[in-house]
Structures are given as C-alpha cells and as structure tokens.
C-alpha cells in the first residue's frame, strides 16, 4: 500500500492523541484490519510512538492485525451461551467452513471469532454475522444460517 491519501484524510479529521482509539476504529472500518503500513503511518503523522500505538491495538479485542473474510462471524461465548452449547456451535461452524484460528476461509467469504458476550443472552446460543444476530441456534441449523451469505 503506497497510497496514503485516505489514511491521511482520516487522520486529519481527528484532533489529538486521546482520539487514538476512534482513529483505529475508523481505519479498521475502512480497511477491514490494521496493517503494519497503516500503523506506521499513524506513527509518522501523529508523533505517537509505535510501541504506544501497538500497545493499544493489542490491548483491545476489537482490533485485528490480519485481513478478515468478507463476512465476520462472531460466536458468543457468554455464560448463557456457554451453558447452552456455544462450544458445539463454534465447532460446527468451524467444520462447516473449514476455518482454523482467526484465518479467513479459503474463498475469503468468512472469518470467525469468539466474543465474550453479545448481550443477547435470552436467545442463547447466539452468533452475530456482520451486524445481524441469530439466536436459539442449533448445530443442525448452522448450514441454513450460512447459506444467507453464500
């Protein structure tokens, strides 16, 4: 990536150092993840140290350092989901999509991540794809949910 115009435009819309988290959020929204080039550009433009920026990026669960698939599947592992079979839901999803860890699927359609709690506990177990929640899931219903995105 050599074109920094978009990054610079975003950076200039923020005022000071206390905006680092909104800056990172905005840039991640733009690019899907935070590449080393993006982080280095923030360092150059804001004068914050790379260590400081990287420290913030790795502290918060929201930030990703690797590209993600087109659709992000968040599997809720809150208490209610855990006791209602979240592990099995995640396992079925991983088998169905053949995804390991935080790598996207081969076709680039999906990425999968664990989430501490989505706050839809009454409908456990729950997953969120992009910004849409799916509740009361069963292992055998996984295929149907995924088919909406294929």
């Amino acid at each position: 990536m050599t074109d920094f115009t978009k990054i610079d435009e975003i950076l200039s819309s923020f005022e000071d150092k206390s905006c680092l988290i909104p800056i990172l959020q905005r840039l991640q929204e733009e690019y899907g993840y935070l590449s080393i080039q993006v982080l280095k550009r923030i360092e150059e433009k804001t004068g914050m140290s790379g260590a400081e920026i990287f420290g913030v990026v790795t502290f918060y669960a929201q930030f990703r350092l690797k590209p993600q698939g087109k659709n992000m599947i968040k599997v809720c592992h809150g208490t209610a989901c855990h006791v209602s079979g979240a592990e099995k839901i995640e396992e079925s999803l991983r088998q169905e999509l053949a995804v390991k860890g935080d790598e996207p699927t081969e076709d680039g359609l999906f990425s999968l991540e664990k989430i501490a709690c989505l706050g839809c506990c009454a409908l456990a177990p729950v997953i969120m794809i992009n910004k849409k929640c799916y509740g009361k899931l069963e292992q055998k219903g996984i295929k149907r949910v995924l088919s909406e995105y294929k």
Binding site: S18, L24, V56, T79, K88, A122, L123, A124
Partner: protein
C-alpha cells in the same frame, strides 16, 4: 387500531424486521409503531395490537392476526398474558421500555420526559444531591456505592466536572444496559444532565461498548434530537465507543480508555471524583443508575425509598438467561427472593429438568444452590452467601450443567480479560485456570482443591482492581456449595452432569439403533461404522465427542456416560 412491534436486538434477532416488512407490504395503510424491548425476550418477536399482545410470531401469523383485527374476525392465536408477566414487577428504569418509540423524542416527552430536568433547574445543586441521597439509590453497575455520596464528593471539587455514563456492559449474562439504551435512551441523557446540574459539569460522555451497534445508533439519534430541541441546555453529550475490554468497566480503566490509552486500572486514591479524566474531577455512574435519576426527581426521594429493603432501596433490573422457560428482562423491588425470580418470573426450568444453581453477578459473582433460593435479592444478602449483586445478570443452570466447568468458564474469561498489570491477577488466574482445566479433563489431583483455595484467597487480597479481587468468587462459591462435583471429577474421573467433554464416552444402544446411517454420514470424525439397516458402532479412537450424533439420532440410540 394501534400496532406496535418490539425492535430491540433480541426482537430483531428473532425476525421482527421480516415481520415489519411483511406487514408494510401487505397493509400499506396500517401504521406500525416501533418500540424497544418490554422484556419478554422468550416470546420475541412480539406485536401488540391495541391492548392485545402476541408472541413467537412469523410474518404469516402476524398478517393473519392483523387481518382478523381489521375485519373483526375470530382469532385462534393465543394472546400473551401481559398482566401476569408484569404483575410482580415494579418498573422505574424500564418505565418506557416497550412502550415508547426510542427514536422519537416526542414519545419520551409525552411520558413526563425532561420534566425532571426542568424541575432540577429550579433546585439548587445541594437540593438535587440531597434528594438523590435521601432516595437511598446505590450504584447499579456492581459495587453498590451510594450515588448521592458519590455526587457530593465530586461536587466539592473545584472546576467543571466530567459526567460519564458507563455503558461498557461487559458482564456476560447482563444486557439491561443495552435494553435501556435501545428502548429508552433519553432517560439516561436526562439523568446525566441532572447530574451535570448537581455536580457542576457541562460535559457528558457515554462510554458504550462497540458490540452494541443498535444502542449506539439510538443514542446518537436521541442526543441530536435533545440538542435540536435545546432540552439539554449547555450540557453537551458525546459518545465514546469502547473497543472490547472487560476491564474498562472499572472506573480508572474506563478513564484511561477514553484518554486513548490501554485500559488499565490505576491505584486509587486519587479517586476519579478528585482527579479523573484528563486530571479533572469526574463522576461515573452506570446506565441503570442514570435512568433512575429522572424518576427520583419527578416522584421524590420518599417514593423511591419506600420500595425495597433497609440497605437496598428501589428496584433492580435483572436479566434472566440460561435454562429457564421465560428468559428476558424483569424489574422487581429489591428484597424479592431468588425463588420468586427463578420460579415466578422465570417460569421455572426448561424441559422438565431439575434446577441446580443460579449464577448471579457475572465473573465477579457466585453460584447459589437450591437450598439458598430463599435468599433475598439485595446487596447485603447476596454478599453474605458469597455472590454479589453485580450488574444483575442471572444465569440459571440445570442438572446438565457442570459446576466445575462453570468455574473454569469464568476463570477462562477473567484470565483472558486480566489487563496484566498485577502479578496475582495475571499469573494467579492463569494458574487457577490450569488447575480447573486439568480437573475437567480428568487429570485433577486430590491436592488441587486446597491449592485452588490458597490461590483464591491470595488473589482476592493482592489484586489492584475489582476484576482480580473478585475473579476467585466463582471458584469459591462452587467449592462451597458443589464441592462433591469437584471430588467426583478428581477421584472418579467422571463428570456427574455429563458436561465435561473429555470425560464422556459415547456409545450406540444396539437394541435401539435402526441403522439409518444418518449419524454415520454426518459424523465429522468418520467415527461411526456399520452396515445399512444394522446397528452401528462408534470407533472410540476416532470419536471427538462432539455430540452431533446424539443431536441427530431420531431413535435416541446414542448414549453418553
């Protein structure tokens, strides 16, 4: 004819948008009002026509119901008994949830909205604080610090104060803050503006977790509507989105996060009231606390203090989740018994299973067993039995849930979320998690229980913030009330609840298996073999114990022990 549809996250996840679109397509002249969550999440998606409420809807059902209402036809669709579901409830925080359109400021104003703020403008700061103090309101975020006292400490400081709303609802199992923000955002904004008048502050910040996109959207709409109408006066409110860190629910960590830093707690004093955000005096209350304020100012401190118990005044919103029939949101007077919550409002345990425990207070809380179900729900009674009020998440578990696994689950959570600043929390939670993991894998040793207790006691006293200090609670309460489960795992290498995967053995009952081959075809590990129409068998070497076969088998032939 007045039609309303619940459009909060749980309603939408259950298909409310599809229903709304179907209604719009079919009846172009019918107007549908959007409301937040009334709390009957187990019945979502919900629709109300005049005073008749219907649940578990599909687009077809909804159209049929409206059609019958429009044409005065008889209807065989069962109605929801709203009065019974709301009967024990007393709604202060949820007073508007499920009733008003959260995106309409007129709706909020129509229900006494912003009248408390107008009234507060006619009061002196001390009068406002005295009213809050007299009400007996205690912080609803977890620790239960008296709100009036907190405000008076901030007011004493020189200069303008930051007024912060903590909407970083990180406790797994709690979603009342999301529901309030999605269903009645103005009540929180009004509360904060009153706080600003009382403590002397013109800058409000709502720190809300990024996992709640709908709450953020409705907050933004509410803030701009209130500003457009000039209702907030000089009081400015901005939103700061969290980035996913449980520890940011702690006040000093939250402040660090707003400042753009890693959200790590620091030693107090100085307390935020003295030196908080950017070194300025700061007051932080949680969503539910703020939503109480307008009601207290409108109705008076006495009205609030009349509800509840001696040490815990008012009402509390609880989120009911887990293995109960009626999951959702309830608001009850403090002092109600746990039994009334679980078996009354919660409708008892799902699928005829047996109640085992109620987990209250999230990762900082504890598990309360059946014999203590008479315990009253108030700050002090819950602390006495080893749990905490916390934010009010209640997850009910049945006989199929393993309590060692529940403890392991919470430790996994706190260990992941520990910011790493203090050794006891960073390494102690790791060691406790390792011990719990080996117990659930059948590798536990008899000395492990003592080791867990020793670590737990030390982590409690030596950690800097609430996260570490309370992280051992799930272990200590499960050990206190369910020690036999730990012992069975350690001595017999068996999980009595059949939940710990490594200890399970799946087999096929040869007399029940019809050889339909469904399980053999679906088994991801190809561990099931046999001839068509003949009983099948499981290859234990290959079996990964995922349980898919048991969920698929129509003959119930897959047995687990």
């Amino acid at each position: 004819m007045k039609i309303t549809i619940g459009l909060s996250s749980c309603g939408i996840a259950s298909g409310a948008i599809e229903i709304l679109e179907a209604i719009k397509a079919k009846f172009s002249s019918v107007e549908v009002k959007h409301v937040g969550c009334i709390g009957f999440c187990f019945l979502e998606p919900l629709m109300e026509i005049d005073d008749d409420m219907y649940g578990n809807l599909t687009p077809d059902k909804a159209i049929k119901i409206i059609d019958c209402h429009l044409n005065n036809l008889s209807l065989d669709e069962p109605q929801i008994d709203k009065a019974t579901l709301l009967s024990v409830q007393e709604r202060i925080v949820l007073r508007n949830c499920g009733i008003i359109d959260p995106e309409s400021i007129e709706d909020y104003i129509g229900r006494e909205g912003y009248q408390a703020l107008a009234k507060a403008r006619g009061m002196s700061p001390d009068e406002i604080i005295s009213e809050v103090t007299k009400s007996g309101l205690r912080g609803r975020g977890g620790a239960g610090f008296p709100t009036g006292l907190k405000w008076s400490l901030a007011k004493k400081q020189e200069g303008s104060k930051y007024i912060i709303c903590n909407a970083d609802e990180g406790d797994p199992g709690a979603f009342m803050d999301r529901s309030v923000l999605e269903g009645d955002p103005h009540s929180v904004l009004e509360g904060m503006a009153i706080g600003g008048l009382a403590m002397g502050g013109d800058m409000g910040i709502v720190y809300v977790r990024a996992e709640y996109p709908l709450a953020i959207k409705r907050l933004k709409i509410a803030i701009s509507a209130a500003e457009d109408k000039g209702l907030l006066g000089d009081f400015k409110i901005v939103i700061k989105e969290g980035a996913g860190a449980f520890v940011c629910g702690e006040e000093t960590a939250l402040i660090a996060s707003i400042e753009g830093k890693r959200g790590m707690p620091r030693i107090r004093p100085p307390f935020p009231a003295v030196s908080g955000l950017f070194g300025r005096p700061t007051n932080i209350n949680n969503v539910e606390t703020w939503a109480n304020i307008p009601w207290i100012i409108n109705e008076g401190a006495e009205a609030f203090a009349k509800i509840g118990t001696e040490g815990s005044k008012g009402t509390k919103v609880f989120c009911l989740a887990g293995k109960i029939e009626q999951t959702g949101l309830v608001e009850v007077p403090m002092g109600i018994s746990l039994k009334d919550v679980v078996f009354g409002l919660g409708g008892g345990i799902k699928n005829g299973k047996r109640f085992k425990a109620i987990q209250i207070g999230g990762p900082s809380g504890g598990c309360i067993p059946e014999e203590l179900l008479q315990t009253k729900v108030d700050y002090d009674s819950l602390t006495k039995v080893g749990a905490i009020m916390g934010s009010g998440g209640m997850v009910i578990v049945d006989e199929t849930t393993c309590m060692v696994d529940v403890a392991r689950f919470f430790l996994n959570f706190t260990q992941n979320e520990s910011c790493g600043k203090c050794t006891f929390c960073r390494i102690g939670t790791k060691r406790m998690l390792e011990i719990l993991t080996r117990i659930t894998e059948g590798k536990g040793e008899p000395k492990d229980i003592d080791l867990l207790i020793e670590l737990a006691e030390k982590i409690k006293v030596a950690s800097l913030c609430g996260l570490g200090q309370t992280a051992p609670n799930p272990i200590l309460t499960t050990l206190r009330y369910f020690r036999d489960e730990y012992e069975t795992h350690i001595k017999e290498k068996r999980c009595p609840s059949l939940a710990c995967r490594n200890l399970l053995i799946y087999s096929i009952d040869q007399s029940l298996c019809t050889g339909c081959m469904l399980c053999a075809k679906k088994c991801p590990a190809h561990a099931i073999f046999g001839e068509k129409k003949m009983p099948h068998k499981i290859d234990y070497e290959k079996c990964t114990k995922c349980g898919l076969c048991a969920s698929l088998c129509k003959e119930n032939a897959i047995k687990v022990r």
